[in-house]
């Protein structure tokens, strides 16, 4: 597509002033190009907020309806892993911000380093997440696929959690609703993880391009916009973590 645009407007582009190779031909200036793509990214993040907003709404309503089930189900989450993952993501946001800075400063080596660090931290997040998912699977806490509510009908059957919280047995109809909590848990963290996977794929591509020197010639738009996306995905987790892990611990 870029080819066709280039040939189509090539004649005109030559007719007026010189511009850097990364400027797309339908823009009048590099500033305009940067402004436009940056603004577009912010708008896209706005749509993402609305997208996750639907899930958060559903979560808040269900939590109000089935409060006891949500409290006990929340106790099943491993707060250690959750905190570790929060730390991993916050650090990855820092390395990403440093990556943008390196691109702006035209430091190719540092850019590759920071993008790689971000990549590693992103993978670490997914690794920890998969440990947690595995734990849910083992405990039969995957609604619809591998499910049993016995740990809520008889909390003492799960001594590890029981000795910490001393949860009372839930009535069968309420114990059933812990499935709703885990459904939302998987839907929300799954959707978040999907965004992480997309981010990591883009990062792989960017590390490859950065090695060719693509972002250290003054054209930082791509890195900067990706940075916005990465921070956004981080912020979503910052909301998920207290809502899913912390909210019932007092």
């Amino acid at each position: 597509m870029s080819d066709s645009t280039a040939t189509a407007s090539g004649a005109v582009a030559e007719a007026h002033h010189e511009h850097p190779p990364y400027q797309r031909h339908h823009f009048e200036s590099v500033d305009q190009q940067f402004d436009a793509t940056n603004f577009a990214m912010w708008l896209f993040l706005l749509t993402e907020i609305m997208f996750f907003g639907g899930l958060f709404t559903a979560y808040l309503i269900m939590r109000n309806w089935y409060y006891p089930a949500f409290v006990e189900a929340s106790h099943q989450l491993n707060i250690g892993w959750g905190t570790a993952n929060t730390g991993v993501l916050i650090v990855s946001s820092f390395t990403m911000a440093m990556g943008v800075w390196s691109a702006e400063m035209r430091k190719k080596g540092m850019l590759i380093l920071f993008l790689s660090l971000t990549w590693i931290l992103g993978m670490a997040f997914l690794g920890i997440k998969s440990i947690e998912y595995h734990e849910k699977w083992v405990k039969h806490h995957v609604p619809g696929l591998h499910w049993s509510d016995s740990s809520f009908l008889n909390p003492a059957s799960d001594p590890e959690v029981y000795k910490e919280y001393h949860d009372k047995p839930l009535a069968p109809d309420m114990a059933e609703k812990t499935g709703m909590y885990f459904f939302l848990y998987f839907a929300m963290t799954g959707m978040h993880a999907l965004h992480m996977i997309i981010g990591i794929s883009l990062l792989t591509f960017m590390i490859f391009r950065a090695r060719q020197g693509a972002y250290t010639t003054g054209h930082v738009t791509y890195v900067e916009n990706f940075g916005l996306y990465w921070h956004f995905v981080d912020i979503v987790w910052i909301f998920l973590f207290p809502l899913l892990y912390l909210i019932s611990r007092y």
Partner: protein, 555 residues
Amino acid sequence: MSAATIVSLPDQSTARVPKMNFLTRENGLLSWLLTGDHKRIATLYLISITFFFFIGGSLAGLIRLELLTPQTSLMAADTYNKVFTMHGVIMVFLFLVPSVPATIGNFVIPLMVGARDLALPKINLLSWYLYVIAGCMVIYTMAAGGVDTGWTFTSPLSTHYLNTHVISTGLAIFVAGFSSIFTGLNFIVTIHKMRAPGMTWLRLPLFVWSNYAASILMVLGTPVLAITLVLVVLERTVHIGVFDPAYGGDPILFQHLFWFYSHPAVYIMILPGMGVISEVVSTFSRKRVFGYTAVAFSSVAIAVFGFFVWAHHMFIMGISNYAALVFSLLTMLVAVPSAIKIFNWAFTLYKGSITFETPMLYAFGFMGLFTIGGMTGVFLGSTGTDIHLTETYFIVAHFHFVMVGGMLMAFLSGIHFWWPKWTGRMYPEKISQFAAVVTFIGFNFTFFPQFILGTLGMPRRYAAYPPEFQALNVFSTAGATILGIGYLLPILYLTWSLKYGAVAGNNPWQATGLEWQIQSPPLTENFPVIPIVDHEAYDYEWLERQQEKEVASVG
């Protein structure tokens, strides 16, 4: 019809369509499939939405044929449910939502703001591919046996009781939603960042304003529908979820989330149409749109109010009386900016030099039918009457007056209006005026009886009905036949005009917009030199001065 016309065509014996234009710049299938040019993508969109319009239209024909008799004579009730569902899904998501924005908007917005392209050409192309993927998924659904939830996917019907292809339809709409998000996002960025020097916000043509407002709705509303459909799909696959009461879910939550998009969606559908009408009414009355600023901001007001009225679809669904009261009042509020538009168009006509070319005929059709559609919307927004009228044919008539009588008329008006710019050739005037009148007559025959049927209590979405309703249903089906002819005619003569139409020249309507000051069809880069805008929108005096200065040149 008087002979008065504003059409000014170049001398046909010498005029030629310019050899170098966006259509001829490159040849071959790949040059189209990989294009970044907004005009080519608009053309691709025009072809694809016309295709789906004819599928959706044929399904509508089947519905009307079935309803010719009180018994289920043509198809079984199950099939009927699938037919009206597919009609709704295709018409709403694959025709009405992208109709004006993705075709006409895609084509003219960069021209109107004085830009070489939309801000994000690759995203624009991606939007079309997503649309095509969504279209293929819908066709797959139909081939595989269809879906019968109605286009509203009401839970728990869609998540629990039915065993038809809800998942593939849901995913198709999810994909189509992203196509529409990307179009809206592109428009907002383009309108903010790509305007030519001197093109201030209050100099923008009203078509741009109304598409801007619709884009806000697309960007903020569509993701909510997307996540709602994801939850429906999950609920069907893992058999637990937040909507189905059998699993402890809340079906009202589904309604809230669904209508949070789907009510604003009707403004996504109608606002760009209103923009077309502003352009057309101004051009064919030779006057600046009366109260330009009010019309511009009324579009934004509709977009904003549009987000706060969704629960009027749920008056009978168990929301509280207080919620119903508040949403009823807010619904009345939307009537205000809509009325501002209608009154301002009427005042634009006042003392204008009106001529009756085809786009103007469609625009008159729009103004009348949209007014009826809008006013009946006020009936439905009042909680008391809504309880009597909802889920009857009154609703069906109401939204078809707005969507078909309003948006489709506006779409056809716009297609005729910009056809000379798009193709470089005029459509044949007499037959298209005839088609516009046929459409108007056919439309009223089809849908007006449905208002009466609705007040008499005929429910929607049933294949059979009591015999005493037959006379009005026969009227409606007969009207649909006329309407069908009205829609077939344009596709025939517009195709004919591609080769045999009169050469249009740059500005056949002597209109003021920037898009009319360049050659038809435009060059790939639109403007050889980016224009500097020094006049207000619809400034016909400025145009006169331009033409005085112009040296007669060969095309």
